[in-house]
Symmetry: C2
Subunit: 111 residues, 2 copies
């Protein structure tokens, strides 16, 4: 068992979008954002296909970003591109869970 | 933008544990499980440190596993070690969100 790269921070967002929202456009905007802002080290997302509704609780999408360090995450939060995108994103979601944490990678082991 | 490795499935679990649960033991059990079962390709977890309570909704921990393919995920679900561990895990959680999806990696780009 080992930690993720020293000090790395993961920013995890799980959402349910409002009815009528064009989800593809919201995601395209997020892809553009993370591509433009170098502070974001990695980004991946997915749409639930397998989860039983009892366990998804109606959430449908997951977005995960990593940052090299806490300071990069803080700088991203206040980056003008992020601030602008956040307004669009916030207006599109019905419910959200956000977790932000230094992560532990158990498998595969480093090296 | 590219997909994760062809067909790869991500299993994401976000939880709040019941009061009084010894979380370290639950996590130790999960680390043991994924180490013993080869079907699990990768596993990482984290405990929220940064999220504002308004956005964490009280959830504290995130667990993420990947599988090479849907069939491996299905086989893991019915694996005796998983079935046994699930009973322990289920008894320890106050609330849970589970998403399971083929994921799209936008950054870093593959290769």
């Amino acid at each position: 068992m080992g930690a993720g790269a020293m000090g790395e921070i993961k920013h995890l967002v799980v959402v349910k979008f409002k009815e009528g929202v064009v989800i593809e456009e919201i995601i395209k905007g997020m892809e553009k954002l993370v591509t433009e802002v170098d502070l974001v080290k990695s980004f991946e997302w997915g749409q639930d296909t397998e989860g039983p509704e009892m366990l998804t609780q109606g959430f449908t999408h997951s977005f995960s970003m990593t940052f090299d360090k806490k300071e990069d995450y803080a700088a991203f939060q206040s980056h003008p591109n992020h601030v602008e995108y956040s307004a669009t994103f916030s207006a599109a979601i019905e419910k959200i869970v956000v977790l932000c944490f230094p992560y532990v990678r158990v498998k595969p082991t480093a090296g």
